[in-house]
């Protein structure tokens, strides 16, 4: 065994030192040749004869050299390299085909690689935390509503005591608003997003500080001086990545806070936990009695002990939850806790598993199309190379060698394609990772990593073998004499080859049919989603955060501030209307806040009050958003702290509470105040385009100081940048410390909300389009080839009186015949495939007639176009030449 390993070592070394070994051997050989000649001379031969005999004895110089190389190096690799060199030359001669093939593989592989990279990042690659498999999301109940997914501090403490499955439980408080905090001082004042986290949140995830340190237990005490940790992105942007930022004191909402640390770039809180959101700063969230009074505040993550499992942890948590419930039943004043444990990965990206799996499936179809198309291209080439192959076979190349040669060529093509594909994938993932505000988790982490690169290369090689194998088997199967004969005159092809190429085209059409149907159904769904009645107008509306700062303490002062702002803004030319809201639809503000509401009929004994969503708005909000008034009136400026408490409800609430349609004038007790209903307005889709509006209560913003966030909503036909800069200037004059930098158009918010669906549609449509191009190329190639093979037949038909239109019909008939067979296979396949995307459909059914008819129409048009050129060529043939054609 040792000597075998040593020999292999020697062979590998020799393989790479070919020149050196050749020279060495040359010297040895010539020396030995001289010895032989001398011997021969000594035995009395003439010099010429002596040399000749020596060479004969040696068995020929060249053979000896070959034999030497074979026994010292790696002959198999040598042969492959030789094949590759030959293949390279032969492909260079066919450079247009090589270019086409490289491009097709490149696009196919590149697209697949991008989709896989996203899949890999979102679903496969471990989350960027220490031992992420042990991390568990601890939700509270099943509702999507944020305040019922979170947990009260007392309940967290009880869980910590009652469960032995966790090393640690930590969390963050999701009740912060994007841009809640005003950063003033050095530089432009700006609104930043501050996430409250428990003391050991970063430690639990295993994140290490990039600079400085994280929170200590004294930082997390209720009254300790404020400390913050910066996100890496914010540190780079605001502090120009200056290490001296740590230790600086900044002014947040007018109060000092010390920067104690910076997070590493690998930890992107926003894309992991709140895709589409932002996180600039982190502050400690004390687990104090004070915060406990706020009810459910914490989104919890636990780290399981090694050896503990999810089911056990769930069982223990359920026991804790039940104990809390029995205490509540006994009259304890605390919130319920219905623990529901899921792996953190599931919580972060579980929602995207389905759509991404569908896309991965589509990639499979695309790659099969690529293979079919290239097989077809290579078959055309194979036909042209029959003579070459026949000659090589006649010269003694075995079938195995011919197949190897052809496979090496297709793998060469695949490698070139892989290079193009990797370049595309690199650019694509780079682009994807820079998309901001997209509601897809971890998108910023998408990159072409080692796994993705390996998968890409393997896929390309597999493709190369797959599309190369049929042509290789085909071409090498032909006996040399038959090939020479068949190629010599324009006879029709025989045997398998006659149906092989049309079969590939039929397959392509069938696969395109599947892709088109999928893309069509999802496109229709997207259009339906975009068509949804949002309940407000999207165009020409912009929103700007203008919360009154901590300086405006009383309701009266706040109202004065609002009056001033509105007065200033409404006089700006171009502003049609301007209103205020604390719950901007589709935004990340506090629109999920719910309050218990009781009507006069609901007695206080009713233990399960209904809790509609709460919105604080001013009198012009409905006009600015064009939310329709159904009956009654909207608010007025005089609905303020000194007037009667009033409210407006939406249709959903009116219908749910007063089915007889007499909501106006009724009283509702909510938030500790009895309010009279003065109007009913249309519903608004607050949470997303695909989620129906819920019961909503609007209250005059001037009657309550109970809001966190205020957006100024402005309707204007002017371009957003212009109107915003006028507003900003006007507001700065009022209050130079007002950070009014970030504005959002309602269009942006809608786009962000449909981004995942739109991306899926775009990608699928791209795939379908690419497939369509490939299939039409395939049809064109096959029909052209068939026309050129049938020149004589066409000539005879012409001579017998067939008109050009007859001939065109003949060729087009062949085209449509192929397409029909493809469709007959493709339509049932598409129906089956469509079932798998049922869950992604919105407002259309699987049997959506428009989609299916459109797919058929598109296929027919494309087939017609692809067949038309060869048909015209056939009808324009000169009959005399056609008859003579060979």
């Amino acid at each position: 065994v040792i000597h075998a390993i040593r020999e292999l070592q020697g062979r590998i070394v020799s393989f790479f030192r070919r020149r050196e070994r050749d020279e060495d051997f040359e010297a040895e050989l010539s020396a030995n040749l001289e010895f032989m000649i001398e011997d021969n001379l000594r035995s009395g031969m003439a010099p010429e004869e002596a040399r000749r005999m020596a060479l004969v004895k040696l068995g020929g110089m060249q053979q000896t050299r070959e034999l030497h190389r074979e026994s010292r190096g790696l002959p198999a690799v040598d042969a492959l390299l030789r094949d590759a060199r030959y293949g390279f030359r032969s492909l260079r001669r066919d450079s247009s085909l090589a270019f086409m093939a490289t491009l097709i593989i490149g696009i196919g592989v590149g697209a697949s690689s991008i989709v896989f990279s996203v899949f890999n990042t979102v679903l496969l690659r471990p989350l960027p935390f220490e031992d992420p498999g042990a991390l568990v999301w601890i939700a509270n109940g099943r509702s999507k509503n944020l305040s019922s997914q979170t947990v009260q501090i007392v309940n967290l403490n009880e869980l910590r005591e009652g469960s032995r499955s966790f090393v640690e439980i930590a969390g963050y408080s999701p009740f912060y608003g994007i841009g809640d905090i005003r950063l003033t001082g050095d530089g432009e004042p700006e609104r930043v997003t501050e996430v409250p986290v428990t003391e050991r949140f970063f430690a639990l995830l295993g994140v290490k500080p990039h600079l400085g340190r994280f929170f200590s237990s004294s930082d997390a005490q209720p009254n300790s001086p404020k400390t913050v940790v910066l996100s890496h992105g914010f540190w780079e942007r605001r502090f120009k990545a200056d290490a001296r930022a740590v230790g600086q004191v900044i002014s947040l909402d007018g109060k000092p806070a010390t920067i104690i640390g910076v997070l590493p770039p690998s930890f992107d809180f926003a894309t992991t936990f709140t895709p589409g959101g932002r996180a600039d700063l982190f502050r400690p969230f004390p687990l104090s009695p004070e915060n406990n009074k706020q009810g459910n505040t914490l989104a919890l993550i636990g780290r399981l002990k090694s050896g503990s499992d999810l089911a056990l942890a769930q069982a223990e948590a359920t026991v804790v939850g039940n104990r809390i419930k029995s205490e509540i039943d006994k009259g304890a004043r605390r919130n319920t806790f219905n623990p529901r444990l899921v792996p953190l990965r599931e919580r972060v990206s579980g929602n995207f598993r389905y759509a991404l799996t569908v896309l991965l499936g589509a990639v499979g179809f695309v790659m099969m199309l690529v293979c079919a198309n290239l097989s077809n291209l290579l078959l055309v080439r194979a036909t042209a190379r029959q003579k070459e192959m026949a000659i090589r076979a006649a010269l003694g190349a075995g079938r195995g060698q011919l197949i190897r040669q052809l496979l090496v060529e297709s793998i060469l093509l695949a490698s070139a394609g892989a290079a193009v594909g990797l370049a595309i994938a690199f650019a694509g993932t780079e682009l994807l990772s820079r998309i901001e505000g997209a509601a897809i988790p971890l998108l910023s982490q998408v990159r072409l990593d080692g796994t993705a690169t390996t998968v890409t290369l393997l896929l390309a090689m597999l493709t190369g073998i797959l599309f190369g194998v049929t042509p290789a088997l085909q071409i090498s199967a032909t006996a040399p004499h038959a090939a020479m004969k068949e190629g010599s005159r324009g006879s029709t092809e025989g045997g398998v080859r006659r149906w092989l190429r049309p079969a590939f085209v039929v397959g392509e059409i069938a696969m395109v049919c599947v892709l088109l149907t999928g893309a069509g159904l999802l496109l229709r769904s997207l259009l339906r989603v975009l068509d949804v009645q949002l309940g407000f107008k999207v165009e020409n509306v912009i929103a700007l955060r203008i919360d009154p700062g901590p300086g405006y303490s009383t309701t009266t002062r706040k109202n004065q501030y609002f009056d001033n702002v509105l007065e200033v803004v409404r006089t700006i030319p171009g502003v049609n209307s301007a209103g205020l809201t604390d719950a901007l639809p589709l935004s990340d503000n506090f629109g999920w806040r719910r309050w218990d509401a009781r009507t006069e009929r609901d007695s206080a004994s009713d233990s399960r009050p209904r809790s509609p969503l709460v919105r604080m708005v001013d009198e012009a909000y409905f006009a600015a958003m064009e939310i329709p008034l159904r009956s009654g009136r909207v608010f007025t400026r005089t609905d303020n702290e000194s007037s009667e408490a009033v409210m407006i409800v939406n249709e959903a609430m009116a219908k749910a509470f007063w089915p007889n349609g007499d909501a106006i004038g009724r009283s509702v007790t909510t938030g500790g105040t009895q309010r009279r209903i003065v109007g009913v307005v249309g519903g608004v889709r607050y949470f997303g385009l695909e989620q129906d509006s819920d019961a909503e209560m609007y209250m005059p913003i001037r009657q309550t100081g109970d809001f966190k966030v205020v957006d100024l909503v402005v309707k204007s036909a002017l371009p957003p940048e212009r109107i915003v800069s006028s507003i900003r200037d006007a507001l700065r004059q009022m209050d130079p410390n007002l950070p009014a930098t970030r504005f959002r158009t309602m269009r942006e918010l809608v786009d962000n909300s449909v981004f995942p669906r739109r991306s899926v549609v775009l990608i699928l449509a791209g795939f379908a389009g690419f497939g369509l191009v490939l299939a039409s190329l395939g049809i064109y190639a096959v029909i052209s080839y068939s026309v050129s093979q049938r020149k004589q037949e066409i000539g005879i038909r012409m001579a017998l009186g067939a008109s050009p239109s007859d001939l065109r019909a003949l060729v087009l008939g062949e085209t449509f015949g192929l397409t029909l067979v493809g469709v007959l296979i493709g339509v049932p396949a598409a129906w089956m495939a469509a079932r798998t995307i049922q869950g992604l459909l919105f407002g259309v059914t699987l049997s959506d007639p428009l989609t299916h008819v459109a797919v058929l129409a598109v296929l027919a048009v494309v087939a017609g176009l692809a067949g038309y050129l060869p048909a015209r060529r056939a009808s324009a043939l000169n009959p005399l030449e056609a008859l003579r054609a060979d």
Binding site: H3, R6, R11, S14, E28, F35, M36, K57, T64, L395
Partner: protein, 120 residues
Amino acid sequence: MSTEPDNKLDLLQGTLDTMVLQTLSTMGPLHGYGIARRIEQVSGNQVLLNQGTIYASLVRLQQRGWISADWGVSDNNRKAKFYSITKSGAKRLRVETAEWLRLSDVMSRVLNASATEEEK
């Protein structure tokens, strides 16, 4: 073009390698032609050697570490590559020799036995 191994050559290879080892073991360092000439002489010119194959054998033996090679100067002052047997080569030669003797012993016994059978 053909690189497929030839059966006949395979058989020769094994024997040739052993012959080379034996030659180097008895004669000391020799160059390639010297080895070939010696084998021809010793075998009574029964082995008609294609001398090209000797170089393949030398490369193989060298890579397996059984012989070593050095450039030196021959009797008539010519530069040549000299081969000599290594320690592990000598060990190998003992194994091979034993095996060959056993095989030829068995072969001749079997052949003789069948010959006597036929005579009966």
